[in-house]
Every structure is written in C-alpha cells, then in structure tokens.
C-alpha cells in the first residue's frame, strides 16, 4: 500500500474504525466449514440487484414514460444510444435471471431447513424480497409499451377484478383508469423506479442485518463443525475465514452467473424479448395467445383451471401465506431433509406440480 493510501486509511480508521470493522466482518468472521455452493446465492443476488440498479439508471436517462413516446424511446435506446442495447438487454435478461436465483435461493433454504428457529424473520424478510422482485418485474414489464407489455398488464391487472366486492376498485387503483393506458404507465413507472427499489433496499438491509446478527446456519450435510451459541447468535470458531477463503468461492459463482447473463444478453436476448415485445402497444388489437412471463405462468394457469377466478386467487393467496409463515408452521428442530420424509415428499411434489402447471399454462 502506498504511503498516501495508508494515510487515507489511517485517517478513515481513526474516525469510523474501518480496520476493526473489516477484521470483525471479514478476516475474523468464520463461516461453517461444511458450507456449500448454495450459500453464495445471496451474494449472487446482491450483484444482480446492483447490476439492475446500474442498468436501470442508464435506461432512465433516455426513457420517456408517456404512451406516445415510451416505445420509441426504448427503440432509440436500443438502436441509437451507444451501448444502449447492452444496458437494455442486461436489464431485461437480468430481471429474469434474478427471479431464477431468487427461486434457487429460497428452494435451497427450504431444502436445508435454514428457515427454522431462530431464523424466522430472516426467512420472512427474504420472502418479502422475493415478492418485491416479482412486483419489480411486473411493473417493469409495462414500461416498454409494447403489445406484449400492454396485454400482459391488461390480463394481470384484470385478475384482481375477481375479488368479491372491491375487485373493480382494485383494478381501477392498479390501472389508474378503467383500462390500461397513460395513467397505468405513470403509476407503474413511479413504482418501478422509486417505491419498489426503496423498499427493496430497506428489506435487503434488514435481511443482511438479521443474517449477520443470528449467524449463518450450519448446513445439515457434511462433517459438522463446532458451534458456539451466544443467545440466538451462532459462531463457528473452527470454520473457514469469510475473507479471503469464502469470498473467493463466491467470486467464482458470481463470475459463472454473470458469464451466463452476458452470453444471453449479447447472443440470445430474444429468449426474454419475444416478437410481440417489438410491436408498439395497440389498445384495440389484442395479439394472439398472450401469455404472462414464465414466473407467473403457474398463477395464470391456476386462474384458468379453477371453477371461478376468485377460487383461483384464494388458492394462490393461501399458498403464498403458507410459504410466508413456513417457519411458524414447521417448528421441529430436525433439518436434514432425508430424516424428514413428509417434508421431502411435499418439497419434491410441490416443485413438480408447479413445473407441471407452468408447462401446461405455456402450451394451453
């Protein structure tokens, strides 16, 4: 370190104690020695959210949230703004990848029973983050004002209309008008660029605080290391150092995911930006076989197969409530999946059911 840099660090250290903070949270912070690759998905998500913020700001500099100009402004970003196509593709593909990683993160936490006491609030904050991620995707989907955006939003907002008594009111609140239009674009834009990102940042902060305060859970597999408990906090004195050992592993996983993201964004963006996304919205002309994004297909198909849409919404609501309250429902201490046959059967069965319903929704 050069003398100038050391002086700068000394200056900061005197005022905010960065050396001690780094020692406590990095070099002397130990993670369980049997930790596995799935524990790095949280860091992958932090990087993906960071990239969404960065590309979102770049898009925001050129995007115009008005029905007459939104589609053209996106076209201009892609075709005229230097590297605008890269920012747009990374943002669109990155949002899908973030949902994939969010799902993997949640599924691995469920599989390893990491949601259990004392990590109920960590789970709950993560569940809220997952929902905020979906809300960001839903609101961002409308912004390009393409045929796909317009009609997917029409269908998704219409679903709220099946709620008894206040359904019509909910649809109007969501759209800002009887049908999707400029008012919908305005409120979705405000939600997408201000309200939801602020909520996401706040809940990420709470989630990380809880992870650090309670300590990383020990995986139920492999040779268990020593655990020292101080109240609800768990220390792993014989674990591996977070920095540099575990950080190096996380960098490897992050690099792998980013390589995949860039490959799709550069070579095959059409996977997530289909042909209907290249046509401007036409409120009088519905394109054929409009479908929601892959992560909403299960909800869409559930609405279709239930006797009434309200029953479909009620089933979805009941399932999401069950998921949110999972640590309060499943309170036994055992975490190893192979010693929890009922849990394992449900875990595999529900995933298979979700994939099956989504594929059905895609081809129906």
């Amino acid at each position: 370190m050069t003398t100038l840099a050391r002086k700068a660090v000394d200056w900061l250290d005197e005022r905010v104690g960065i050396r001690e903070a780094f020692r406590e949270n990095a070099t002397e912070y130990r993670v369980p020695r049997n930790i596995n690759v799935f524990y790095s998905l949280g860091t992958v998500l932090l990087v993906l959210f960071g990239l969404q913020f960065l590309t979102g700001i770049l898009l925001l500099a050129h995007y115009v949230p008005h029905p007459d100009q939104a589609f053209d402004s996106v076209k201009r970003i892609v075709n005229e703004v230097p590297y605008g196509w890269l920012a747009r593709n990374l943002h669109a593909v990155g949002s899908n990848l973030a949902i994939v990683v969010l799902l993997l993160h949640m599924l691995s936490v469920i599989f390893m029973g990491s949601y259990k006491k004392p990590r109920e609030l960590t789970w709950l904050s993560g569940f809220i983050l997952f929902n905020l991620g979906l809300a960001l995707c839903l609101t961002g989907y409308l912004l390009p004002w393409s045929q796909l955006s317009f009609w997917a939003t029409t269908v998704s907002t219409e679903a709220a209309g099946s709620v008894p008594v206040i359904g019509e009111y909910l649809v109007r609140i969501a759209r800002g008008a009887p049908t999707v239009g400029g008012a919908t674009l305005g409120r979705f834009f405000a939600l997408h660029v201000v309200v939801l990102p602020l909520g996401l940042l706040a809940i990420i902060g709470a989630h990380l605080m809880l992870v650090r305060r309670i300590g990383i859970s020990r995986p139920p597999f492999g040779k268990p290391g020593e655990v020292v408990k101080k109240g609800v906090h768990e220390d792993h004195p014989d674990g591996i150092p977070f920095f540099p050992n575990y950080v190096a592993e996380e960098i490897a996983v992050v690099s792998f995911v980013l390589a995949g993201l860039f490959a799709i964004a550069v070579f095959s963006p059409e996977v997530f930006i289909p042909a209907d996304a290249l046509e401007p919205a036409d409120p009088f002309n519905t394109p054929a076989h409009i479908k929601p994004e892959w992560y909403f297909l299960w909800a869409y198909q559930t609405l279709k197969i239930m006797p009434t849409e309200f029953i479909g919404l009620a089933v979805q609501g009941a399932f999401m409530t069950f998921l949110a309250l999972l640590p309060f429902v499943d309170r036994k201490a055992e975490r190893h999946p192979f010693r929890r046959p009922l849990f394992l059967s449900l875990f595999v069965g529900i995933i298979a059911l979700f994939i099956g319903i989504s594929v059905w929704g895609h081809y129906s």
Binding site: V155, G176, P178, F284, T286, H289, L303
Partner: protein, 138 residues
C-alpha cells in the same frame, strides 16, 4: 401526577399522529383513485355509414372499448368489446359473423353470448338508438 402527565402526553401524541396520518392519507388515496370513467363519454355518436350491414365499428365508450353492429339492415346493437375472461379486446370475424378473443380463444356471437372457450359471462350489452344519420351508444 407524573403518570397522569405521561398518559396525557401519549394520548395527545397518538391523537395528533392519527390526525396527521388521516390528513396526509386521504389526499394520497384520492390522488391514486381514478374516476370510474362512468361520466366520461356518457354517449358516443357513430355515423350510420361507418357501420355496414354485417359489419362492426369499434369505439371508446366510458373509457373502455365497445363495438357497434348492424346484424340486419336498419337494426343496430352495441356490445362491450372487453372479453369477460381476462379483459382482452375481442376481434370481429366478419366471415364467421362472430367475435373471437385472441388471448385465450373465447368466442361470442353477435348478441354477446358465449359460443366457446373460457369466458364466464356474455359480453355486456349497451343501449343504442338511431338519431338521424348517427347511431347513439349509451
């Protein structure tokens, strides 16, 4: 005495807080609640020549798409063009003489009745009258 004072202060702060929340909350709610659209375009006039026999003319009525038809010479009807399944806009198929929803394949006849597909209800029928060279919807 100190307890009374503390209770009074807590009650006063609580009441002021609730009043301020209502003061901010009500305008916020009103700002985000749109008009129902009922008053807008209470009546729509469509020139008769725009609606041929066996044809259809799409218009905006009370903020939502509607369609005016002339199934027989001189007889006009009007329907909401919003599919009762998930809110997509139906398309008129003149060769088949019916409506099709492109989203999920729902089909309706020219009276709005469901012929096939997932729509749970018929298309809403709208009032229509002839006034000189115009057709008046609503």
């Amino acid at each position: 005495m100190a307890d009374n004072r503390r209770r009074f202060l807590v009650a006063a702060i609580g009441t002021t807080g609730a009043a301020l929340t209502a003061l901010v909350g009500w305008p916020l709610l009103r700002t985000l609640t749109p008009d129902s659209g009922e008053g807008a375009d209470a009546q729509v006039r469509v020139p008769r020549k725009d609606v041929p026999v066996g044809g259809a003319k799409f218009v905006q009525y009370k903020g939502k798409p509607a369609v005016v038809l002339q199934p027989e010479p001189g007889k006009f009807t009007a329907l909401s063009a919003v599919c009762t399944h998930l809110g997509c806009i139906v398309k008129f198929k003149p060769e088949q003489g019916d409506f099709e929803c492109p989203c999920h394949g729902g089909r309706f006849d020219t009276k709005g009745e469901v012929l096939a597909g997932p729509p749970p209800e018929p298309l809403a029928t709208l009032a229509v009258a002839v006034d000189g060279d115009d057709i008046v919807v609503g």
